[in-house]
């Protein structure tokens, strides 16, 4: 139950005074409370835990980490040979 799962925000509405969004988890859609991610917009990836978006995934940071890892792989290959 402690896992947060990333999904894409596909719609936002208001329910009983709370900001609520629809999040698509690779085909499965769920209603999610957005009270803690007021900055999240449609199209953003959010990390959802027990029905609440707790964090917006920073796409630039995600790509940057992967770029660093890939570069490290190349360096290693050059160093270690084929």
């Amino acid at each position: 139950m402690c896992l947060g799962i990333p999904g894409r925000l596909t719609g936002i509405e208001e329910q009983d005074g709370l900001r609520v969004g629809t999040v698509d988890f690779g085909g499965v859609r769920k209603q999610v409370c957005l009270a803690y991610t007021p900055q999240a917009g449609v199209g953003d990836y959010v990390i959802v835990h027990v029905g609440f978006a707790i964090s917006v995934v920073d796409a630039t940071e995600a790509q940057r980490t992967l770029a660093v890892l890939r570069a490290m792989g190349d360096v290693l290959e050059q160093e270690l040979g084929p």
Binding site: C2, S55, L69
Partner: protein, 370 residues
Amino acid sequence: MKYLDEYRDPDLARALLAELRRVTTRPWTLMEVCGGQTHTIVRQGIDELLPGGIRMIHGPGCPVCVTPLEVLDQAMTIAQRPEVILTSFGDMLRVPGSHTDLLALRARGADVRVVYSPMDAVALARSHPDRQVVFLAVGFETTAPANAMAVRHAATLGLTNFSVLVSHVLVPPAMTAVLRAPTCRVQGFLAAGHVCAVMGWTEYEPIAAEHRVPIVVTGFEPLDLLEGILMAVRQLETGSYRVENQYARAVRREGNTAAQDAVRSVFRITDRSWRGIGAIPASGLTLTDAYAAFDAGRRFDVGSIVVREHPDCIAGGILTGDRVPTDCHAYGTACTPRTPLGAPMVSAEGTCAAYYSAGRRRAPAPGDPS
């Protein structure tokens, strides 16, 4: 979800492992403090791929496992009342209490329901004004904001038939307790990414400095874990002891301040006993006086319950990293995910269940029939 899937790329994993082998000159022992990370590590066999000498110890990171027995027994007592609908996350239903579990009570007629979110429990209270809806609110800092909002929302709606049995636990005091234990072998931590998504990592900075341990905020995908391990080992190899953030795509230093504010408005810090470990000062959350009306423990008066653990279960040793599940005599025989004797065998995040689903075998003792 392309860039998220890429965090499972086996080529990048190999590159990370090669780099880890390159930088490692000595044995090091690290602890991950998140059941989700334990699950990935054991399932993907990451601990078995690491260069010789690097050991992962699985910490007390499964919220289901550390929920004290008396809270479970209280929940079961409340669930047996005819006017009550008891709600919780699915994992909690199978955790053995002193005498039974919630699933068995449901089979005997108790109204026990699984919810996906605490907000679902609030909705249930709204649609059943003639019943008392109780939510068993467990979990770490990640779950507390959701439970805080459920209580606040119930208050806003003026519900008088909703209450929560709160047993929240906090990670930094548990890490300190692990480090202070005389048997502690942990030299560095992988901190739970989603706990830090809520809380940030400022609380970890004094721990890293005082105990001279690197702490790396780490995500949950295989690449996250390998990179987190690499960052911790690099620090250990160079003698530095800082908090670093591997999981920058989801975690910022200050965390989620809106969530923190909500938690502070509904809960206050309290001493808490952890199943298998015992009492840790200032390691839990309980409702503030302003929200005492939503406290199920008060509403149903369940303070005097006496508890009994299964005598074979070595959960305490498992949760502090002193023992591994294959050390337990009941592992895989008397205790399996279908018939758990102790909490670490229940949830997929529990160390015993993670070992079992990965097919790890217990070395048979001489004369042992299994």
